[in-house]
């Protein structure tokens, strides 16, 4: 998987909406890609901040 492909589905991956096979491809890419891992980390941080902001 290339970064462009990963970026297309990374939100779905984060949201737990990908099937196991597609999720596995994303996980493998994330293991070796700092840029895409950073995007995932941002999504995770934002989610926590939003939830905390409304609690």
């Amino acid at each position: 998987m290339k970064c462009d492909d990963c970026q297309l589905v990374i939100e779905e991956y984060f949201d737990g909406e990908l099937n196991e096979q597609a999720a596995l491809l994303v996980r493998r890419h994330l293991d070796g890609c700092k840029s895409c891992s950073g995007v995932l980390e941002s999504l995770t941080t934002e989610q926590a901040v939003y939830v905390a902001g409304r609690s």
Binding site: E11, D15, E17, E46, V49, G53, R54
Partner: protein, 186 residues
């Protein structure tokens, strides 16, 4: 046994206590959902009551107890939309009650400065949410704040799955842009 499906089945059979428990369990998320649509706390509370009244009277029409939540949110959405249409017709303006938001969001951090920052962020987040258009706001709320699946969101809103994904992506971008300064300090 007070599992949701059991409660809903009992409520459908006319058990008022079961419906009261259903109300207790779901009223808060429904209120949050409606508030995202109407942006007014008192009105949202009123519409939440209306949602549960309609749900109570129409419980027998619910075909699948496991989809109660989706069904209930769908009623809430219709009730809120009717109210918005009515308000548009009457040209009522609705302003955000900042004071009530400030009272609701009390900081939990350990220093007054931190509490002030938390409060400021909460107000900024509220403003950012309200700046989203209705479709984005509802999808964002259901996914990010209520952790609903795309399928459930599509069922509740009537949107296609593709539209759910698009609106969610755009909502996240807008929220990120509006709250960037705050995010960088988190």
């Amino acid at each position: 046994m007070n599992g949701s499906e059991d409660l809903i089945a009992r409520a459908r059979a006319g058990d008022q206590e079961a419906f009261r428990l259903v109300f207790e369990r779901y009223s808060r998320p429904v209120l949050g959902f409606i508030y995202e649509m109407v942006s007014h706390r008192d009105l949202a509370e009123e519409l939440t009551q209306e949602t549960f009244v309609r749900a109570y009277h129409n419980l027998k029409q619910l075909r699948d107890d496991t989809k109660f939540s989706t069904w209930l949110f769908g009623i809430g959405r219709n009730v809120a939309r009717e109210s918005l249409r009515l308000r548009q017709r009457e040209s009522l303006s609705c302003t955000q009650d900042i004071d009530s938001i400030q009272q609701e969001h009390t900081g939990t951090s350990d220093s007054p400065v931190q509490q002030l920052l938390e409060k400021e962020f909460n107000i900024a987040m509220e403003a950012a949410l309200q700046a989203l258009d209705e479709d984005k706001r509802v999808v964002f709320f259901l996914k990010v704040l209520q952790q609903r699946s795309y399928y459930e969101i599509a069922e509740i809103t009537g949107f296609s799955l593709a539209k759910v994904k698009t609106e969610l992506h755009r909502a996240r971008l807008e929220m990120r842009r509006r709250l960037r300064l705050y995010m960088e300090t988190k």
